[in-house]
C-alpha cells in the first residue's frame, strides 16, 4: 500500500465515522446536523479522490464501508455506553481479517484507470483538494 492510499482511505474512514457518531448524537440534539452533512460530504469526496489514483473501487469501498461499521460499533461503546454482543465482537474480528486480506491482495494499479481518464490528470492530487477536507 502506498502512503497516499493509506492517507486517503484513513481520511475517508475518519470523516464517515465522525459523521455517523454525530448522526447518532443529533437524535438528542439537532445542533450536530450541520456537522453530519459536512462530514458525510467530505467522506464521499475523499472516496472519490481514491478513484483518481486508480484504486480498484470494489476493494476501496469494502475497506471504507466495513472499517466504518467496525469503528462506529467500538466507539458507540465509548461515547454512548452501548454494549457489544458476542456476535458483534466476532463480526469486528472478521471485518479486520477481511480488510487485511483486501488491502494486502490489491495494489493501486490493479484497476483500469485508463478508460476512466488519467489518474493523475489535470488537477494534481493533494493540491488543495485535501486542504478542503481537513
Amino acid at each position: 500500500m502506498s502512503p497516499r492510499r493509506i492517507l486517503l482511505l484513513t481520511g475517508a474512514i475518519v470523516a464517515e465515522v465522525a459523521a455517523t457518531l454525530m448522526l447518532r448524537a443529533s437524535v438528542a440534539d439537532p445542533i450536530w446536523i450541520p456537522g453530519v452533512v459536512v462530514l458525510y460530504a467530505a467522506a464521499f469526496f475523499i472516496l472519490g479522490l481514491t478513484q483518481r489514483l486508480g484504486m480498484p473501487l470494489g476493494a476501496v469501498y469494502a475497506t471504507w464501508s466495513a472499517s466504518g461499521v467496525a469503528l462506529v460499533a467500538v466507539l458507540g461503546v465509548v461515547f454512548f455506553g452501548e454494549l457489544l454482543s458476542i456476535g458483534a465482537i466476532i463480526g469486528i474480528a472478521v471485518i479486520i481479517i477481511g480488510v487485511i486480506l483486501v488491502e494486502s491482495g490489491s495494489s493501486d494499479d490493479s484497476g483500469t484507470p485508463d478508460d476512466a481518464g488519467t489518474p493523475d490528470g489535470p488537477v494534481a492530487p493533494g493540491s488543495g483538494y485535501t486542504e478542503v477536507t481537513e
Binding site: 469494502a62 464501508s65 477481511g98
Partner: protein
C-alpha cells in the same frame, strides 16, 4: 414495505458509488450531479426504511453488506476491475462481518 425502501436505498447507494468511479476521481464534473442525487436518495430511502419499522442494525448491516458486494460485482462487470482471489475472499469476510456486527 420496509424491504422495498431498503432495496431502493441500496440501489441508489450503489449507483452513487459507481458514478464516483465514472467521474475518474471527481475530474469529470458532469458526474457530480448523479453522485449527489444518488447519495441523497440513498439516505432518504434509508430513513423511509427505518420509518417503516425495520430496526437500524438490520437495515444498516444489510445496506452496507449488499452495497459492498454489488459495487464489487458491478465494477468488475463494467470496468473489468481485476481483484485477486485474496481480495475477493477478504470482501466475503467483510460482508459476513458487517452483518454480524449489525445483527449481533
Amino acid at each position: 414495505m420496509s424491504w422495498v425502501w431498503l432495496a431502493l436505498s441500496i440501489l441508489s447507494e450503489v449507483a452513487g458509488t459507481l458514478c464516483l468511479r465514472a467521474s475518474a476521481g471527481l475530474q469529470r464534473r458532469v458526474w457530480f450531479i448523479p453522485v449527489v442525487i444518488s447519495y441523497t436518495a440513498a439516505f432518504l430511502f434509508l430513513s423511509r426504511t427505518l420509518a417503516a419499522g425495520m430496526p437500524l442494525g438490520v437495515a444498516y448491516g444489510l445496506w452496507a453488506a449488499c452495497g459492498v458486494a454489488l459495487v464489487c460485482l458491478l465494477s468488475r462487470v463494467i470496468w473489468k476491475d481485476s481483484l485477486t482471489r485474496r481480495a475477493l475472499i477478504g470482501i466475503g469476510c467483510i460482508v459476513v462481518g458487517v452483518i454480524l456486527v449489525e445483527a449481533g
